[in-house]
């Protein structure tokens, strides 16, 4: 994936997160579309692209939230880098492994993000297990569906073209 494509994907995710996502929040379950994009980029383009997209996306999110700039960036950088390594070292093409990667990435992100806040004594999160599990499941579902769509759509276009050419003959 090219740099412009990554920046565009992160920007679209941020825009969706700040406009449409608030209508999708239910209780403690909230999808982090930006994290989904970072993991997607990491799995498709490797650790370097993953960590850079994580840095960019995390810093942008931090700057737009009332948070310390860098904490979300650090968490997403780590997640993007590790997801990229997993993508290059293992075969992550079926839905279940992808689900596991998205789920694990969200949990790791939450551990680093909340851990840093607690470590610096800036925020307290109580017992966020249910919220993290809910968000990880939601992110994993969105991530797997995004992969399916990205893989199905180009195929559908080609099939349509092939069908048309067969009709002309």
């Amino acid at each position: 994936m090219k740099a412009v494509g990554v920046i565009l994907a992160v920007a679209v995710a941020l825009a969706l997160q700040t406009t449409a996502a608030r209508f999708l929040v239910r209780g403690s379950v909230a999808v982090d579309l930006v994290l989904v994009v970072v993991v997607y980029v990491a799995l498709t383009s490797g650790p370097a692209a993953g960590l850079l997209s994580g840095t960019f996306a995390g810093l942008a999110q931090d700057a737009l939230s009332s948070s310390v700039i860098g904490i979300g960036g650090l968490a997403k950088t780590l997640v993007g880098f590790l997801a990229g390594i997993i993508g290059t070292q293992f075969i992550v093409t079926a839905s279940l492994p992808r689900f596991v990667v998205f789920f694990g990435a969200t949990v790791l992100h939450a551990v680093v993000f909340m851990g840093l806040y607690v470590l610096l004594d800036l925020r307290h999160f109580g017992e966020p297990y249910a919220a993290v599990a809910g968000q990880a499941t939601a992110n994993a579902v969105v991530g797997v569906v995004a992969f399916q769509l990205a893989e199905l759509l180009p195929g559908a276009v080609e099939r349509r073209r092939a069908g048309k050419s067969r009709l002309r003959r």
Partner: protein
Amino acid sequence: MAILDIRQRSGYLFLAVTLGQILLVSAQVNSKSGVPVIESVTFGIFSEVQRGLSGGFLGIRSLWTGYIGLRHVKAENDTLKRDLAAAQVAVQEQRALADRTRGLENLLGLRQQVKLNTVAAEIIGAAASPDFRTLTIDKGTRDGVRADMSVIAPAGVVGRLVVPSMRSAKVQLLIDRNAAAGAIIERTRAQGVVVGGGDDRLRMEYVSEVFDIVVGDVVVTSGIDGIYPKGFVIGQIESVERSGGAYKRITIKPAVDFRSLEEVLVVLTPTPAREAAQGVSE
């Protein structure tokens, strides 16, 4: 070897980026006072993008609901909603007025009138991260709003203003993990602090075990925090548990449905506590 080389490069890159961000975090944590300039500037710029996106989003939605959908019913419904909102705000003001007047009459034998000066604002965006519960409104410093002003809705308290820019502002919702407000249980007059939990519920802390508190009791602002005016509804008590210590464990269902908020009111009138604080500082 080529793969190893790429891995090494990305490893160095990872270390450099991580180190850079650790330094960035350290700098802010050590010297943070008020709102960081970078946050304010970035927020100001991005809120304009949010305004545009929100305009497009709302335009499409209003086209659908107002034109293709039920055009006449929508107009009538809007009028009724406005009337109801105005009536609810009036009830809130009357409640605050009655509460304050009763207290002052009892204690001092004085009468005082409360008139809140507010400005209506439209919500143009939400938090960029689900870990924070904030909203962006379309009113900024040029409309007279300042940091730490309270934000209310017809149903009750919404939150407080944290980052104002010229044409927009960020509102920290009361359900955010970092939010808190001085509160009082209307029936028993038990005081405490309401704090957000990051989900759709609030907790009330520091309420003594000796108070008789039941499910359904209404919790209102106490006004001692200097941000929220006294007597505004926060929510209703949903559960009360004995924690075993000196305080009860209380869960509150907020009066405001934060998911369906579209317009809010920013209270421009400073609270007596803040006026007093400003007087002291001057």
